[in-house]
Amino acid sequence: MQREASATFTPVGHPAVAHGRIGVLLLNLGTPDATDYWSMRRYLKEFLSDRRVIEEPRWKWWPILNLIILTVRPGPKGRDYEQIWNKDRNEGPLKTITRSQAEKLATVLSETRRRKAGSTR
């Protein structure tokens, strides 16, 4: 135990801490969970409540959003989404594609890391 601990530069009895890795976080926005009325409403409410998306003063925007848009839009918007929905995975195409981008990126990055590790040996 003693030797193992000194080899990692931590004192004896130090709890294991995960650290030292680099993460890459790909960010994209905006896809509803499902195409039904309430899922669409929840999605639209979150998206259209964002102050960076709608910069109108709250007192002006709140009634428009809650009384008009969130009553009228979820239905038709859900039908639009229905046309493009990934039915196999039951998710929006944006989610399918973004996940695949992350997986493929992880593959190309880890291939290079392995090649580099191989060449230093």
Partner: protein
């Protein structure tokens, strides 16, 4: 963090910066950091609207999709998601970055300005948005006797409602109703080899000094 990452590169998947997209995505990430005792070191990738890797990747992807069509378009319409005009006036760099992407892409194709249009889509509400509007442009082209067009939306890293439905279904309809004959929406870079190469290029550059 749970996987032991103490350095994180955040890559908002928007080639052109906009407060409503890039900054919102970063806000969410920063909000998560607020609860952490041991915060990771953070880098944020800058927009890549004028990276040659991005422009070349787009051009290659467009050529590949164009070569599969049974027609040659008379016009290319490069459409970006719109925003209220006043956001531009308040200093959002989005409009200028979109224009630069389109200009560089046109250069890569070697097409003349009169065959290449840059437009803005997805307007809602009564405010004036960035112009020209995509839907109005498409209708006008049909009315003016243009019969074959292709659309591309380089601001979208992945296809979604605004491209697959709004462009490929709705705007296709506008074009056909106004006399158009051939319409093609050229897909986003998505997870195609060109798309992954663009993201990989950005990630490798921004990781310099860390790896």
């Amino acid at each position: 963090m749970a996987q032991g990452c103490d350095r994180i590169l955040i890559v908002p998947l928007y080639p052109q910066y906009a407060a409503a997209t890039t900054a919102t995505a970063c806000d969410q990430a920063f909000r998560a950091l607020m609860d952490m005792r041991w915060q990771p070191a953070i880098r944020v990738a800058p927009p890549w609207h004028d990276d040659l890797g991005y422009i070349d990747g787009l051009a290659a992807s467009m050529r590949r999709h164009l070569s599969r069509l049974d027609f040659e378009p008379e016009r290319i319409v490069v459409t970006f998601h719109g925003m209220p005009q006043k956001y531009l006036e308040q200093g959002d760099p989005y409009y200028c970055q979109c224009q630069k992407t389109s200009r560089l892409l046109r250069g890569a194709f070697g097409w003349s300005e009169d065959r290449w249009l840059t437009t803005f889509q997805s307007r809602f509400g009564n405010d004036v948005w960035l112009q020209p509007y995509t839907d109005e442009t498409i209708k006008r082209l049909g009315r003016e006797g243009v019969r074959r067009i292709a659309l591309v939306a380089p601001g979208f890293s992945a296809d979604c409602l605004e491209t697959l439905e709004e462009l490929d279904v709705e705007n296709r309809g506008y074009f056909m109703e106004n006399g158009g004959e051939k319409f093609a929406y050229l897909p986003a870079l998505n997870d195609d080899p060109e798309g992954i190469a663009v993201i990989e290029g950005v990630v490798r550059r921004e990781l310099q000094g860390w790896i």
